[in-house]
C-alpha cells in the first residue's frame, strides 16, 4: 500500500502529464503552421502520445483515475502565435521537462520499488526526447528570429515550474522507495539543473540568463531569511 503523501505526489504527476499531452498536441500544430521544415512538430505529436501513457502510469501508482485537462496556454495573452509557441515550448520543454529528466534520473539512483522503477524507466526514456525537442525548437527560432525578448519572461516560467518548492517546507519523509524525494533534495536538484543545464543552454541560444539567475538567488535568499534549511 502506497503512503498517502506518495499517492498525492503521483496524482499530481498524472495531472502534469495530462496537461503536457494537451499542450504538446497543440504546439505541434502551431509550430508546423510557421516552420514547415522543422522536425519538432512530429516529435511533439509523439510526445503527446507518450504523455497520455505516462498519465495512466502515474495514475496507476497513485491509485486514482485520470481527469480532464485545464488551460494549457502558458504565454502572456499579448503574445502572437509564434512568440507564444516559443514561450510555451521553452517553459514546457527547456525548463519543466529538463527538470523532470534530472528528477527522474536522480530517483532511479535510489532504492525504489520494482514497479516504481519500471514506471520511472519508461518515463525517463521519453522525457529525454521531450526536453531535447524544446532545445531543438529554441535553437531553430534563435537562428531565425530575435529571441532575446524571452529573457525577461524566464522568471515567470521558473516560478510556475518551482511551485511551492521555495516557499513551503514540503514533506521530508523518506518516500524514496515509492518514487518521491524529500523536498530538500528536490530543491537541490532543481537549483543544480538550472545552474548547470538550463541557464547555460539559454545563454548558448543567445538569451540572457541574468533575470533567471536573479530570480533564483532571490528565491534562495528569501528562503534563508525565513529561517528554512535544506
Amino acid at each position: 500500500m502506497i503512503p498517502p503523501l506518495a499517492a498525492q505526489a503521483w496524482e499530481f504527476r498524472a495531472r502534469v502529464e495530462r496537461d503536457a499531452a494537451v499542450r504538446f498536441a497543440r504546439l505541434a500544430e502551431e509550430i508546423a503552421a510557421f516552420d514547415a521544415g522543422s522536425p519538432v512538430p512530429a516529435l511533439m505529436r509523439k510526445a503527446a502520445e507518450d504523455e497520455r501513457r505516462h498519465e495512466l502510469l502515474c495514475a496507476e501508482l497513485a491509485g486514482t483515475s485520470t481527469s480532464a485537462a485545464g488551460e494549457t496556454r502558458l504565454a502572456p495573452r499579448s503574445f502572437g502565435p509564434r512568440a507564444a509557441a516559443l514561450y510555451d515550448t521553452v517553459a514546457a520543454c527547456c525548463i519543466a521537462e529538463t527538470e523532470s529528466v534530472a528528477t527522474v534520473t536522480s530517483l532511479l539512483a535510489e532504492d525504489v520499488g520494482p514497479r516504481v522503477r519500471e514506471v520511472l524507466h519508461e518515463i525517463a526514456r521519453d522525457e529525454v526526447v521531450h526536453a531535447q525537442m524544446g532545445w531543438a525548437h529554441l535553437a531553430r527560432e534563435a537562428a531565425a528570429i530575435d529571441v532575446t525578448f524571452l529573457s525577461a519572461f524566464i522568471p515567470a516560467m521558473l516560478a510556475g515550474t518551482a511551485g511551492d518548492l521555495f516557499t513551503a517546507a514540503g514533506p521530508e519523509e523518506d518516500l524514496r522507495r515509492f518514487g518521491v524525494l524529500p523536498a530538500s533534495r528536490r530543491r537541490e536538484i532543481f537549483v543544480q539543473t538550472l545552474r548547470e543545464v538550463v541557464f547555460p543552454g539559454l545563454e548558448q541560444c543567445g538569451l540572457s540568463a541574468r533575470p533567471a539567475c536573479e530570480w533564483l538567488e532571490a528565491s534562495l535568499t528569501s528562503r534563508t531569511a525565513a529561517g528554512s534549511t535544506g
Binding site: 502534469v16 496537461d19 499542450r23 522543422s38 502558458l74 502572456p76 495573452r77 499579448s78 503574445f79 502572437g80 502565435p81 509564434r82 512568440a83 507564444a84 516559443l86 514561450y87 517553459a91 514546457a92 525548463i95 519543466a96 529538463t98 527538470e99 534530472a102 534520473t105 536522480s106 529525454v128 526536453a131 531535447q132 525537442m133 532545445w135 531543438a136 529554441l138 535553437a139 531553430r140 534563435a142 537562428a143 531565425a144 528570429i145 530575435d146 529571441v147 532575446t148 525578448f149 524571452l150 525577461a152 519572461f153 522568471p155 515567470a156 516560467m157 516560478a159 510556475g160 515550474t161 518551482a162 511551485g163 532543481f190 548547470e196 543545464v197 547555460p200 548558448q204 541560444c205 543567445g206
Partner: protein, 55 residues
Amino acid sequence: MLFKKLFRLLVVSGTLMSGASGCAASAADKKPAPDAGTQAPDAGKADPGAGASGW
C-alpha cells in the same frame, strides 16, 4: 557529473536535432519577433505568463 552529462544529452543533442546552423548569432542579423508585444521597458512584469508544472 550527472548535470554535465544532462547538458550534453539534452541541450547539445537537442540543438543538433534542430537542423539549425547555429543559434547564438547576433540578434541584429535576425528578423525581430514582432508579435511578442514586449517593447515596453517593463516587459515580463505586467503580464509575465506562467510556467509548466514539473515533477
